[in-house]
């Protein structure tokens, strides 16, 4: 268990930068997710921490030790791969024992530690099996046990759950959280799945184009996005373009053709172009006019039912279309296309950020 520190880390392939000047500190025992779309450099960062990719610049420290130039086998890390990467020619027991054997362990304490790691992932009775005799979820748990058994100083996860089906993924997510809480190992978790990142992490680091967009606790990432990219990537946002109206102090955004939206705060100069983000789930529907920071009238253009939620496409008088998500058990869950409807949005749920960094 140690602190993991990245300082001004860069990675270029030829002249193409993949990771640009990333500095990141993960405190001892902390669970941090690197979240971003594919190609944002998150996996490259993880592989640099593991020693599988050499950084072009910068330094990486685990605890007090500079590991920038150490090979992977000298770093005392545990890495869980998306592909599981179990040793197919070894039994589950031998897979988990691999790291311990490398540390020169043997004897009674040694098998006890292997069994302990297997018990942690609830596979105590599977030691004699071969990986191919296990299901995907079981293989992933073996991979975790294998990474944990040598008691690494830092645990790394490379999209470990994305090869599993949805139901299993939810179970494994809970398992993983329990495991990390029990072991309190410093953990770096790479994922493109925002719900995974938000529910598991102490802090989330959102990345885009090789740059850290925001590094903050999950609540801040969700409720107070720092950049237009974060606002567009997290949740299911509607994006509108507008300009800051008046002097900007009252948070009014002119979205064109008579549509004005109020945000709680505007991080841009008066008259400058901004992107306005309103999450689908932050819009309340009402059949009668009500007072709100933003009360907009519109008509339902489309309805689609997806189980727990109903999604509407609502057209505003100026032609703008907004997608609204509402609980399927709540009011206004059964509106026919063409119905008149009122949209109510609190100013705190409207993010107005300088127009830049389109979501990919």
């Amino acid at each position: 268990m140690s602190r993991l520190v990245l300082e001004h880390v860069e990675k270029r392939y030829g002249t193409v930068p993949v990771v640009k000047d990333v500095s990141l500190t993960i405190e001892e025992g902390e669970f941090v997710s690197l979240l971003g779309p594919s190609g944002c450099g998150k996996t490259t960062i993880l592989r640099m921490v593991a020693g599988l990719v050499e950084p072009s610049a910068g330094s990486i420290r685990i605890g007090e030790k500079d590991v920038t130039n150490l090979p992977p086998n000298k770093r005392q890390i545990g890495l869980v791969f998306q592909s599981y990467a179990l040793f197919p020619h070894l039994t589950v027991f031998e897979n988990v024992a691999f790291g311990l054997r490398r540390q020169g362990e043997s004897g009674n304490g040694f098998s006890a530690r292997v069994r302990e790691a297997l018990a942690l992932v609830r596979l105590a009775d599977y030691g004699e099996r071969y990986p191919r005799q296990l299901s995907g979820g079981q293989q992933q748990r073996v991979a975790m046990a294998r990474a944990i058994a040598p008691r690494p100083r830092v645990l790394l996860f490379d999209e470990p759950l994305s090869n599993l089906d949805a139901k299993l993924r939810d179970e494994m997510q809970i398992e993983l959280k329990r495991l990390q809480a029990e072991l309190a190992i410093t953990t770096l978790f790479v994922t493109h799945d925002q719900s995974e990142a938000l529910s598991l992490s102490d802090r989330v680091c959102v990345m885009h184009d090789g740059i850290i967009q925001q590094y903050a606790p999950p609540e801040d990432i969700y409720h107070r996005p720092a950049t237009a990219f974060v606002a567009s990537f997290i949740g299911k946002p509607n994006r509108l373009s507008g300009t800051v109206a008046g002097n900007g102090a009252d948070g009014r955004i002119d979205c064109g053709q008579g549509l004005t939206i109020r945000a709680a705060a505007v991080a841009a100069r008066a008259g400058s172009a901004v992107d306005v983000f309103i999450r689908q789930e932050a819009i309340r529907l009402s059949t009668t006019p009500e007072a709100a920071d933003n009360a907009l009238a519109g008509t339902v253009a489309m309805r689609s039912f997806s189980g727990a939620h109903v999604q509407y496409v609502v057209r505003l008088p100026n032609g703008t279309e907004l997608v609204v998500e509402t609980p399927s058990s709540g009011p206004a869950s059964d509106l026919a296309p063409g119905s008149a409807i009122h949209l109510l949005v609190s100013a705190a749920d409207v993010f107005a950020l300088p127009a830049a960094g389109r979501a990919s």
């Binding site: 599988l52 090979p71 086998n73 040793f87 197919p88 691999f98 540390q103």
Partner: protein, 283 residues
């Protein structure tokens, strides 16, 4: 049920060709191997004897040829493996730009006729050949090295000829080793050498075995290269069978030798397959 029938249909064309053209004619030879042969007279009809097989097991000359053939097969296989693995590794793990040129270089010798390649080696290896002349001109040796009509010459020629098969099998095997599995071993504390011996090597075992069986079977049954580089006196089983049939017209001994060769090949393939499965944890 259905899959069994589909399987049967899939192998049917090849099976018909093999049974018709190969198995039947080979089985027709089986009785011949138990017939008596009288020099000058020929095969004695309706005779029955185990003499032809007993001679292979007891006669010193025959025994030497059998052992030599096996030793040659094992030697060629081992040499191809040692020389081929690094090349295959370079092709798969090296700079991708070199992959195609290297693969072509490996395959290129296969485009030349076997006789031509063996002649090439004669030009290099004879007493007044390129190698000996060069070494003598440089004053490294006084007498020409004996590089032909012995194990050395046949080994050199056969390793050259069967190396491409081994490399191609190993390339296929190495391509099937997931990089993540090797990386996993590295993160668990394995240095580069241990990653190779503990992960890469066992995971390429199927390719090593397949390549070895292929090279072994090809080299114990090779005729042209041993004849050209071994000469008329340095015999292996294949050349001996050829002589028994074509020169001595002793079909009985020739057939017995052929069946012995097949039996040895099958036994070794079976044994190595079992050993490989155990080694790679696939049993």
């Amino acid at each position: 049920m259905n899959s069994a029938r589909t399987g049967l249909l899939l192998i049917a064309p090849l099976a018909i060709v093999l049974v018709g053209a190969f198995l039947v004619s080979v089985l027709l030879l089986a009785p011949t191997s138990f017939r008596e042969y009288l020099p000058g007279t020929g095969i004695v009809p309706d005779s029955w004897t185990l003499e032809n097989y007993l001679r292979i097991a007891t006669d010193d000359f025959y025994r030497e040829v059998v052992w030599r053939t096996l030793a040659l097969g094992l030697g060629v296989t081992a040499a191809c493996l040692m020389l081929g693995y690094p090349v295959a590794y370079l092709i798969v793990r090296g700079d991708p730009r070199w992959r195609l040129p290297l693969t072509l270089l490996v395959i290129f010798p296969l485009m030349l006729n076997l006789v031509v390649r063996s002649f090439g080696w004669i030009a290099l290896l004879t007493n007044r050949g390129l190698v000996n002349n060069l070494l003598m001109s440089l004053g490294i040796i006084d007498e020409p090295l004996k590089l032909m009509f012995n194990l050395t010459g046949v080994m050199i020629g056969m390793v050259h000829i069967y190396l491409p098969f081994m490399v191609l099998m190993l390339v296929a095997a190495l391509q099937n080793v997931p990089r993540d599995v090797e990386a996993a071993a590295a993160t668990l504390g394995s240095g580069r050498m241990h990653v190779f011996t503990a992960v890469t090597l066992p995971l390429t075992a199927p390719g090593i075995i397949a390549g070895s069986i292929l090279v072994f079977v090809l080299s114990i049954s090779a005729l042209v290269t041993p004849r050209m580089l071994g000469g008329p006196t340095y015999q292996v089983m294949a050349t001996l069978i050829y002589d028994e049939y074509m020169q001595l017209l002793d079909w009985s001994s020739g057939s017995a030798l052929s069946f012995t060769l097949v039996a040895i090949a099958v036994a070794i393939i079976w044994l190595s397959n079992r050993a490989a499965k155990r080694w790679a944890g696939l049993a």
